[in-house]
Symmetry: C2
């Protein structure tokens, strides 16, 4: 097998492995009453504070029609508040409401707990090594792409 192919193969193998891992983590987590997409959106709103739909769309790569409907629901549940931007009449600024923050915190805590459980069986040195690898991967991929889709965390 060519050198290049071996590298491609290893990346694809990792992608399969990690797809499965993420799937398991997400399934396990989402016995809550919110969907994965809703949870990711709440995360983005929390991380940004005053974000726009467009930002979330670009961050999560979902359809704007879909996002619009999810937003409507999140507002109906009382988790977010929306107000028109004062500088641009087209955009709407989204924030977490107090109860949205509470839900976010719960999801966040559950997520922390889950990862904690996952790594609790890993010797400490390996945990360090694990995260070093993760940082390294992000760095290599981000650096190699100045105006590439893969940018941003």
């Amino acid at each position: 097998m060519g050198d290049k192919l071996k590298i491609v193969d290893e990346i694809r193998s990792f992608n399969r492995y990690y797809t499965k891992l993420l799937g398991l983590l997400n399934n396990q987590l989402l016995n809550s009453k919110y969907s994965l997409t809703e949870a990711r959106i709440l995360y983005e709103i929390h991380a940004g504070e005053k974000v726009t739909a467009t930002q979330i769309i670009s961050e999560l790569g979902i359809d704007k029609g879909q996002l619009s409907k999810i937003m409507r629901n999140l507002e109906k549940y009382g988790l977010i508040t929306r107000k028109a931007s004062e500088t641009d009449g087209r955009v709407i600024l989204i924030s977490l409401s107090p109860s949205g923050k509470k839900v976010y915190n719960e999801l966040d805590a559950a997520s922390n707990q889950q990862i904690n459980d996952m790594i609790s069986v890993i010797p400490e040195g390996n945990q360090k090594q694990l995260t070093a690898c993760m940082q390294e991967i992000k760095m290599i991929l981000i650096n190699s792409s100045t105006d590439d889709v893969r940018k941003r965390s």
Copy 2:
């Protein structure tokens, strides 16, 4: 921030990063007429040769009712063949048909091409480093879990 928390945070950051990356890769790839789940199933059948529905379910973590329907479609498209096991009347052995192999090969080639494109901008030394990290991550996670969900590629 506690040491433990820093590690958990880094893992979660990586998970968000990689979720997005995988999403982009999958979206890009699946302008083909097959869904991601169908493509993953074709991969599993190809990797196993004579697999059972139960194996695929456990490998991909999807619902058995859903799998059953997808299988019905794949058979309708002529991509797979199913025959009853001779040793256990309940199980059905699944294989790729010639045209299923063709489709698999196309998807496989597109996937290779895509990863190739992705890494083509990365200096060769970094590519090696990237895959070394990926292998390391798999190793650490797999080793730490003898009878854990995360096992298997």
